[in-house]
Symmetry: C2
Subunit: 351 residues, 2 copies
């Protein structure tokens, strides 16, 4: 039997869903005759309003603030989508606070974060989720830390992936170092020894963790990364093009490139294609993140999945428990996963 929805009730009562909602929530007056007609239908079908409608009935505010650095970077919408699906089930809506890290304005990203934190407190949200920005800095300004600490004292505050030094906030995070170890080991198993690592920002802890993973996997195989093949400070496609073009002009040059995110890897594919270097025959390229487009590039990108949607889902679940004052682990760790596609292959003999 088909489940009866608010929509069916509205249709049969010949009113709008908004009107049915008003009757369910008792939020605004509805004509007596109309209300009775709707109530009769609710009775008739033993209608169970879904979670979203139920939360309206309970009159929770149900608002969450979600601070992220750049919605046009495809990694973030994927985290958000996982979060949204789960949060919606539980009846939450959210403010999206995009700090536009890539946008050129006088106002900088960290200041926008400050403004949003302060704004969300004023809007009296039930909880705040933060992804990127200051929580990815390895040495954030003490003032930046204090602000988050202060907010977290007043409202459940959850950090995704990043962290803040010396502040014991709740976190959901993928193991960044392990992801880099997986990527590097994959290249090593294919016989590569001449491996470059490009992308990321030296001042960001996610970059440092990924490079630690890279170095430690190399060292375990008795290899020392070459300094001139470690090109940092950039997470964009353009940066990937630029780093890879530089690598391809070097002598000797690497047989494989570990890119610190997929956008950089897509740039690497582009630079290789421009230089007439075949991937993976002459050059292996591995990314990091597993954004949707990793599967859509030609060749399809081998990468490490950071489980974006799963981080988002766990974030919603955890924040909901925090709002309900239930116990949650300080750190929920998500395991990254190697995704082998077409951009990596065994090193060529004498290559």
């Amino acid at each position: 039997m088909k489940t009866v929805t608010v929509y069916d009730i509205a249709r049969e009562a010949n009113v709008s869903v908004a009107t049915v909602s008003r009757v369910l929530n008792n939020t605004a007056p509805v004509k007596k005759e109309t209300r009775e007609r709707i109530s009769a239908l609710i009775e008739k079908y033993q209608f169970q309003p879904n979670a979203l409608a139920r939360s309206l009935i309970r009159k929770e505010t149900g608002m969450i603030g979600f601070i992220l650095p750049d919605i046009t970077n495809p990694f973030f919408p994927e985290v958000l989508a996982g979060f949204d699906r789960e949060a919606r089930k539980m009846g939450y809506t959210y403010f999206l606070c995009d700090t536009f890290s890539t946008n050129e304005e006088t106002l900088n990203q960290y200041e926008r974060e400050s403004q949003y934190i302060s704004l969300l407190m004023e809007k009296q949200v039930d909880g705040i989720v933060m992804l990127g920005g200051r929580i990815d800095l390895s040495r954030p300004d003490p003032q930046m830390i204090r602000e988050v600490e202060e907010a977290a004292r007043r409202v459940p505050f959850l950090l995704l992936n990043g962290s803040l030094p010396q502040v014991g906030l709740n976190r959901v995070a993928t193991d960044q170092k392990l992801g880099a170890v997986l990527a590097t080991q994959h290249l090593l198993e294919l016989g590569h020894r001449d491996i470059a690592a490009v992308g990321g920002y030296s001042a960001m802890s996610n970059t440092q963790q990924r490079l630690q993973g890279f170095r430690s996997a190399m060292r375990e195989n008795g290899l020392q990364p070459r300094k001139e093949w470690m090109l940092q400070d950039g997470f964009s496609v353009e940066a990937g093009v630029e780093f890879t073009s530089r690598l391809l002009a070097m002598n000797p040059r690497p047989t494989a490139i570990f890119c610190l995110n997929d956008l950089v890897a897509i740039g690497a594919l582009k630079a290789a294609s421009r230089a007439g270097v075949r991937v993976p025959e002459e050059l292996s390229i591995i990314g990091y993140d597993d954004i949707q487009f990793a599967a859509n590039s030609i060749p399809e990108l081998t990468t490490v999945s950071l489980k974006a949607a799963e981080i988002g889902r766990l974030a919603a679940e955890t924040l909901h428990r925090m709002i309900g004052k239930k116990k949650v682990p300080k750190l929920l760790s998500v395991l990254p996963e190697l995704v082998v596609r077409q951009s990596t292959a065994a090193v060529r003999k004498g290559g």
Copy 2:
């Protein structure tokens, strides 16, 4: 001289930005001594709070609801980013209401729209922007129309790209038909006569308008589109792979494919690569939308820009005027633009 920001004031006063904000907005008590220290610094630097801070001072609610169908489809974050940049300047925040058109759940997309509309009314937002979903249907259910009409009577309601039959709501829209004419003419000028048109959904007005543009440009050149080369009902990369694989197995087969969005075009590139068909030498592919990844595919995708960020920016500007009860045109039309990259080329003689 560097502009003094809330952040600098906070640092020099040795307090959090939240505290400076509280002083600026007078929203919560701040210790007299602290308040005076902050006020002195504001005085000293002749500090001008930015738009966001100003709106807090004016105590507007400043909340907008933004309903869209799928944040993981890269077209939508780009519209949203253009909207956000402009809306933030004017001090608005917004609820993001993602109806997850691609998600398999009992609850369908249109019902989620209904719920969100009703929720946003209850949250007393200053205005609502709607993109995709029911406003892209060529024949929406009368009930769906009524709901939007009812909401629009209570709060400024702006439709992006879509429309609702017989309802005179304010709109900001790119000319969908013209975009398709531009794409088709580009292929015709390259000498193509055997052109396929794939992607879209027959029940959606955007698809119908794009196909009208395609047909009319073909007819103006004395050409009749072949029915078997018109493959619809799909807007995803996977759909593009599937449509193109079918086309490439036909005899005769087209020399060019007009894809109704960029995701479908990226799928087409993938299918061509798998079949060993070289793009653009043996097959020209043109997309539609100009998402970021259009410039990142190999070869880079020729496409039609729908000016996503510009639509978003105009939406914020227009909604702000509507909220301020100022006059706005019923329809603000944005002109699409042909973006020639690498995936199209002159038809091969005897090809």
